[in-house]
Symmetry: C2
Subunit: 195 residues, 2 copies
DNA sequence: CATTTAACAGACAGATCAGTCTGCCTACCC
DNA sequence: GGGTAGGCAGACTGATCTGTCTGTTAAATG
């Protein structure tokens, strides 16, 4: 992974990572179109030249932001899958993560849905990346339900995604406790159908 | 309604209505922050002076946009409630409308959730208006379920709102047929609990 | 030691943003 | 017929947006 780790200690947070970290927080919290590159540059403490060297256009940074979020979730779920042998426990970990996130102060909704909502063109790279992420998510849940011998794993996965989307969208506006309780009921019903 | 219809034929769509109609379409389709007042002015075919006479600031137009959407939904639901005596039919009409909207080509998600997602400050007037709308919606569904003698009308209303939010958020990215089928299942289950 | 690379600093261009201002015109109502 | 209200046309300001440009500095590599 790191071809420099063998020799001298390179600066641990290069400019590109600082840019990505700043963009991740700002894009998620304030909205993609509301955040200018100048603000990201100031937050990341880099210069404009450095910024445009790593990301020649703002849209490339936006795509990197979505991909980073996608990667984080995939790593979490595949990690849970490899450490827990019971698929039901993986699903409960998934739901638990959603509940935790939705109740975190300053929660602002699903980053993927929000990102897609800020791009009107369905063929835009951002919308494509989000659609691909959701396709993977749906098939991941479907395969877990199939392992659990759920009678209709496709329907169950769609039901869980529906509840997930509703919980993440609603928690940023309505009371997160009420909303996540409804998510838990939906998830438990789906798991009961499988058992 | 029209105090001018008695005498001479006044222009049927005054400037303010044209502005509101243009803003409604543009804000919903392209996002609030992506649409500049110049574009609304061009689409509504008014002048800048006229625009700022009716809406002294862009934010006032945004609030009017959210209120207009709120009014439209309230009128639809209270209309259904007064014409149908069975609360279950009102709920089915509500679900039917969501399904129809979500499957319409060019559907872009829930206008309220999208509007709220574009304003980071929870105390902003837009976020407040959306929160109030959702509170009314939740209590409306709750009272319908109470009429139907649902054993836990609060939970049922939260479950339906969860499914509604998920359906509207997910349909703009994923396949609307799959998503709205999941919404129908959820709604039918809630209605079954009441019966 | 010489080269390359990544970062630094910051001015600049061109477009677009919200919002203001001056002035004219026309239809209605008293 | 005069007043008023609503709409027309369009120039203008100051801020902010994305993106480019010139030039400097420091460190690692060959």
């Amino acid at each position: 992974m790191d071809q420099h780790s063998s020799r001298s200690a390179r600066p641990p947070a290069p400019a590109k990572l600082r840019i990505l970290a700043a963009a991740d927080a700002l894009f998620y919290n304030d909205g993609i179109h509301s955040v200018g590159v100048d603000r990201i540059i100031a937050e990341a403490r880099v210069t404009k030249s450095t910024f445009y060297k790593h990301f020649p256009a703002k849209e490339l940074l936006i795509i990197a932001y979505v991909h980073g979020r996608d990667q984080g979730l995939r790593e979490f779920l595949t990690g849970q899958q490899s450490s827990l042998e019971d698929p039901a426990l993986v699903l409960r970990a998934l739901v638990g993560r959603i509940v935790t996130e939705a109740n975190r102060p300053g929660f602002r909704g699903c980053p993927f849905i929000n990102a897609a909502a800020q791009f009107s063109d369905p063929d835009s790279p951002v919308r494509r990346a989000v659609a691909e992420h959701r396709g993977w998510y749906l098939s991941f849940v479907g395969s877990l339900l199939r392992e659990l011998r759920h009678p209709r794993p496709g329907e169950g996965a769609a039901d869980l995604l529906l509840a997930r989307d509703g919980a993440l969208s609603g928690s940023s506006i309505s009371d997160p406790m009420t909303v996540t309780a409804a998510l838990r009921r939906s998830a438990e019903r789906i798991l009961t159908e499988a058992a």
